[in-house]
């Protein structure tokens, strides 16, 4: 009984929290977190600037924060950084002629592989068709089965 009450209270608490208007700071904070985790640190290239301890990452974090506080949009901030560091700074590069292969290459390869597989299976099915065995084949089969059975016994 007690635990049910506790859960109810907890749910109430959550609903209160959800109903409260999100202060401006929190919204900025969320955008800040989203942006910085989308941006690659150029010093340690497999980390986002949110995670990296590199000096440059710290500077770029500060830059992003400052621009957010100035009221810049996410797009403006992204443009600012790609103008300086190129598309490489984004973990998800934009779709443009140079990146078409990057975005669609895997799907093309998958379709190609799938197509080859389907074609192969179809050909294989054709080869193992339901044509009845010829007399010779049936004899061979019987000999094989029979022989195997004998060996099993022996």
């Amino acid at each position: 009984m007690k635990s049910v009450l506790a859960v109810c209270l907890l749910l109430c608490a959550f609903s209160l929290w959800a109903a409260a208007p999100v202060p401006q700071d929190e919204k900025l904070e969320a955008r800040y977190r989203a942006l910085t985790s989308e941006l690659r640190c150029l010093v340690c290239q497999n980390e986002s600037i949110a995670d990296s301890h590199a000096d440059l990452a710290k500077d770029l974090r500060n830059q992003v924060r400052a621009m957010l506080e100035q009221g810049k949009t996410d797009q403006e901030i992204m443009n600012y950084l790609t103008a300086r560091y190129g598309d490489f700074v984004r973990f998800r590069p934009p779709l443009k002629p140079a990146t078409v292969a990057l975005w669609f290459g895997p799907f093309v390869l998958m379709a190609l592989g799938g197509g080859l597989l389907v074609a192969y299976m179809a050909r294989r099915r054709m080869r193992v068709s339901n044509a009845p065995l010829s007399a010779g084949e049936r004899e061979k089969l019987a000999a094989l089965l029979h022989g195997a059975g004998d060996e099993g016994k022996g």
Binding site: L42, V43, Q45, D55, L56, D59, L60, Q63, T82, A83, R84, Y85, G86, D87, F88
Partner: protein, 175 residues
Amino acid sequence: MKARYLAPLGIFVLLVVLLWAGLYLNPREVPSPLIDKPAPEFTLPLLHDAGKQIARKDLLGQVTLLNVWASWCDACREEHPLLVELARSGQVPIYGLNYKDAREDALRWLNGLGNPYVASAFDEQGKVGIDYGVYGVPETYVIDREGVIRYKVIGPLTEDSLKNTVLPLIRKLQG
């Protein structure tokens, strides 16, 4: 029938070629979007005289090298003798962008190792560095008469890159 056996071989050869080429790519060298674009504006205090300023317009009218350096950067020490030698040869004026350094340390560094720079801009906060897309000091920009960035070397200059890439480009731009 033959194609069935040749196809895997072909794919294998293709993969070998791709991976072989990949071995010689340097993922740390990110192509700069600033190549063939006007060098970003800046106005910074001089390293040697905090009261005076240096700006982008001071570089115009001649082909220049802009070398980003710092006293805390080991690779800068590595390339420094080359810069000193190049400055002595008088082939091209070298400007320095002293990046996120302490003024005292930077001055001591130049006093000890020689100063190849016509002038060094003092970018204490690294803001101009960000505008120039600096991410791995040292970096060296070749800037033409009109102030357009023509080439960028990431990491230390080497005798080889200087002789075979940078200097020929500079001569072409000067010509």
